[in-house]
């Protein structure tokens, strides 16, 4: 499921230009890292793919379709094929881990029996099945992040977006979280991960797009061994 940015400019109302003439092609099924310092435009890039925002100029094509022109009624269907992991987690504190992960399946209208099966599989993949009935507040930061990942993949998305998924994690947890993304990439999901941790990204052996002040400054493939 290819993603293509064609001369994309994103300027906010306060005049800040988050992306300046960005042209990037992300092949279907690839694992791509966006790197750069804070304010480089990584989150804006992901928000444009999620269609949480629209470009000021240029086009964002997903599967050949300019998603800025998606009709309101088509947008929910588009998003049901995406998985999103953000640094702040956005877990609902009043719902159990199970119910947090089940949200995308309820939205898709899935039967309770199928919801249970899929949620258990997703929680098992992040090694949190035993904590399914706890509330988010009862988990550590790393566990909460893994719950968000489980929620992002429970609906078997075609594209998985992650914004600084290891921002709050220690190095060991960061590596295991990145390994999770690689596993989803291995089963054909297009994965885009934004991270400022260039050292960690360098160990993943994937495409890396470097951003700086809203401009693409590098596009390269890294060696997984270092």
């Amino acid at each position: 499921m290819g993603i293509e940015f064609q001369h994309v400019v994103k300027r906010f109302e306060n005049g800040t230009e988050a992306l300046s003439d960005v042209s990037v092609t992300i092949p279907p099924g690839s694992l791509t890292f966006l790197t750069g310092h804070s304010g480089a435009g990584k989150s804006t890039f992901l928000n444009l793919v999620l269609r949480a925002d629209r470009p000021t100029r240029g086009k964002v094509l997903v599967n050949g379709v300019d998603i800025a022109g998606l009709k309101r009624r088509h947008l929910p269907v588009y998003r049901r094929h995406l998985g999103a992991v953000f640094q702040d987690g956005q877990l609902l504190d009043a719902r159990t881990i199970f119910n947090n992960v089940a949200l995308p399946l309820h939205v898709a209208g899935m039967r309770a029996r199928d919801v249970g099966r899929r949620v258990r599989a997703a929680l098992e993949s992040v090694d949190l099945l035993r904590k399914a009935e706890l509330l988010p507040g009862q988990l550590s930061a790393g566990e909460r992040q893994r719950v968000v990942i489980a929620r992002a993949v429970v609906n078997r998305p075609k594209i998985l977006l992650a914004d600084e998924p290891t921002g709050n994690l220690d190095p060991e947890l960061s590596r295991s979280t990145m390994a999770l993304f690689r596993r989803f990439h291995d089963v054909g999901v297009t994965v885009i991960v934004a991270s400022h941790d260039t050292e960690l990204v360098g160990t993943m052996g994937s495409r890396v797009v470097g951003l700086d002040h809203g401009r693409v400054v590098s596009q390269e493939a890294t060696n997984p061994d270092g």
Binding site: V65, I67, P76, V77, R79
Partner: protein, 320 residues
């Protein structure tokens, strides 16, 4: 032609729509019971707003019913001079029966009038002292409901020109007062329905708005995982309906209590006029309409609140 979908449309599984409704209903009941004091407060407030126009509606309905029960009364009475020959009242009866707008005609002879007076006045001993019957013959006519007050006056004037007639009394003044009172009640009813109905919408809207603010994080997450507008709004519409329906139940209870409180003195009042009283308001249709109105007003408030709040959220997310 450019494609407008990124992926082919996927039909939601059969029954998903009703599963959503079932889940939202359970969640709504849980939400309300978890905040019962607030919920009760909202129900009472909406209940008062609904009870006032509903009570006025019942007052109007009962005035119409009261007027209807005396429907035979509007008309006029023609009093003849004492000692007039009975042919004249009898001729008038025949003439009146032939006129358009006349419903019924009664002839009361002087002897019948005296007997009636004796029975009602309780002074029969005093009447025995009189040599002659001082009471005149009279004719009473009632008019159909189609006859206007002006038409009633015209009919009475025609009867008044009959030879031997001493006086004609048109019995309309109380009916006109009742009609005027009904007009005031009707206007008051619709004015207060509009004002307090708007109040109920605003109460529901403000409460639902607070619920949306409290669950804004959930709304954002649902939007990001692909929930459509209907899915996101549904819990808030259910909440508005629950507030409206609860308010209507409170209003129905208040009105029933009011009717029970007033029933006994009203029965006595009507009984003094020899009438049976059947108060409007105890019928299921009235309660169904009250519930439907409450539910509708509650949903309207929720629609207004959720549209405004979700549009702002969508604008912030760059949605068209």
């Amino acid at each position: 032609m450019a494609r407008t979908r990124v992926w082919p449309a996927q039909a939601r599984p059969w029954g998903a729509y009703w599963r959503d409704h079932g889940r939202v209903l359970r969640d709504t009941l849980g939400y309300l019971s978890g905040r019962f004091a607030t919920t009760l407060w909202v129900w009472l407030t909406i209940g008062v707003a609904l009870a006032v126009p509903a009570a006025l509606h019942l007052l109007e309905a009962n005035l119409v019913r009261a007027a209807g029960q005396w429907r035979e009364n509007p008309g006029f009475s023609v009093y003849f001079e004492p000692g007039v020959a009975m042919e004249k009242p009898e001729d008038l009866v025949e003439r009146l029966k032939a006129m358009d707008g006349i419903e019924r005609v009664w002839l009361t002879t002087p002897d019948e009038a005296l007997a009636e007076f004796r029975e009602l006045s309780g002074v029969s001993d005093a009447l025995e002292l009189l040599d002659d019957n001082p009471l005149p013959a009279s004719v009473r006519a009632s008019v159909t409901t189609a006859v206007s007050p002006a038409g009633l006056a015209a009919l009475a004037e025609q009867a008044a020109v009959t030879d031997g007639v001493e006086d004609v009394v048109v019995e309309r003044s109380w009916l006109e007062r009742l009609g005027a009172l009904r007009e005031i009640v009707t206007r008051l009813h619709w004015s207060l329905t509009a004002i307090l109905g708007l109040g109920a919408v605003l109460i529901s809207g403000a409460t639902v708005r607070l619920a949306i603010v409290a669950r804004l994080e959930e709304v954002k997450v649902l939007t990001l995982v692909g929930a459509g507008r209907g899915y996101v709004r549904r819990p808030f519409l259910y909440l508005g309906a629950a507030y409206g329906l609860g308010g209507a139940v409170i209003a129905a209870m208040a009105i029933s209590a009011l009717l029970l409180f007033l029933e006994e003195p009203l029965v006595r009042l009507f009984g003094s006029y020899g009438r049976d009283l059947e108060i409007a308001g105890f019928d299921p249709i009235f309660h169904l309409v009250l519930l439907a109105s409450g539910g509708t007003l509650g949903v309207l408030g929720a629609v207004a609140a959720s549209s405004q709040r979700l549009n702002r959220l969508n604008a912030a997310q760059g949605r068209p």
